[in-house]
C-alpha cells in the first residue's frame, strides 16, 4: 500500500512565518525527502516555518527524527519552527518520545489572523 506525504505551501502569514500544510503519512519512506527540502530552506538563512499538521495522518520515528533534525537546523541557523493542528496518532507519537516538550505550537485560527 502506498502512503504518500504532501507538503503544500500555504503562503506567508502576517507574522512572517512561511506556512505549509502537511498531508498524509510522514513515515520511513517519505520523511527523508521532506527533511531534505526543509533543511535546504532553513540553510538559506534565518527562516521561520509553520507546519499545519491537521492533515497529517501518520507519523513514525523517521518522521519524528526529521522534526528533531529540523529543530536542530532551525536553532543552528537562527530560524524558528512552529506547528499547528497536531492531533491523533502523530501527537501521541510525539508525546510518547517526549519530543512534544520541545515543539512550539500555535492555534490554527490564530496562526493566520
Amino acid at each position: 500500500m502506498e502512503h504518500g506525504l504532501e507538503w503544500k505551501v500555504l503562503g506567508t502569514a502576517p507574522d512572517g512565518f512561511l506556512e505549509f500544510a502537511l498531508i498524509g503519512d510522514c513515515d520511513l519512506y517519505n520523511a527523508p525527502s521532506f527533511l531534505r527540502d526543509m533543511v535546504a530552506r532553513l540553510g538559506a538563512g534565518p527562516t521561520r516555518l509553520r507546519f499545519d499538521c491537521a492533515g497529517l495522518r501518520y507519523l513514525d520515528s523517521t518522521g519524528v527524527g526529521a522534526i528533531i533534525k529540523l529543530l536542530q537546523a532551525a536553532k543552528a541557523h537562527g530560524g524558528e519552527l512552529r506547528f499547528t493542528g497536531l492531533m491523533g496518532t502523530p501527537r501521541k507519537v510525539l508525546t510518547l518520545c517526549n519530543v512534544i516538550s520541545i515543539i512550539k505550537e500555535d492555534r490554527r485560527d490564530a496562526a493566520r489572523s
Binding site: L28, D60, T62, V64, G65, I68, Q72, L96, I102
Partner: protein
Amino acid sequence: MSQFIVRKLIVDERNELFDAQGMRYIEFPSDFKRIRDYAAQVLQDCPEAFLEDGLLEQQLSEIIKNGIKHGNRSDPSKLLRVWYDLRKRVRFIVEDEGEGFVDLDDWNDFYRRRQTALHNQDFDAFLELASYRGPKSGPDDGGNSLFAALDYWNGGMIYSEARNKVGVVRWYSVTR
C-alpha cells in the same frame, strides 16, 4: 517534588515474554519497502479497541523496521519471525537473523542522560539528545523509536541474550 524514573532496555532470555506457547506465527522476507504492509498484515484481525487509531500499527512497524533494517540489513534472504497474540492484550515476539542490538548498554546510558535533561527542563540539552546516534545509524534513521517503545509497551520490552529477539506486551485498561 516529582518522582524521576528512568526505564531501561533489559536482557532476559528466560523472561515469560519469550514464551511463544499459544501464539500465532508468521514470517517475512526482509523487504524494506513492505515494512508497513507486514505490520498491517499481522494486525488484520486485531480487535478495533487495541488499534488505538493506528498507534499499534505504528509501534509494531517500528519493531519490524528495526529487525529488517538494523538486524537483517534489508537482506531479503533473511527472515523476520513474528509471534503474536491479540487476545485480551497485544503481545509480540520479533526475531531477526542479525548480530543483535550490540549497542544496547550504550543506548541505556544515552536514554538516562536524555531523560535527565528532560526532567531538569534543560531543553537545549534535550534537543541535542533527542535522537540516538549509534555507530551503525544511517542518515535517515530517526533514532527515537525505542524512546517511545519503552513507554508504549507498558507490560514490558525484553531482549534475548543474543539481542536479536525482542518480546513486548501492551495491556489495556478496559478488559474486553
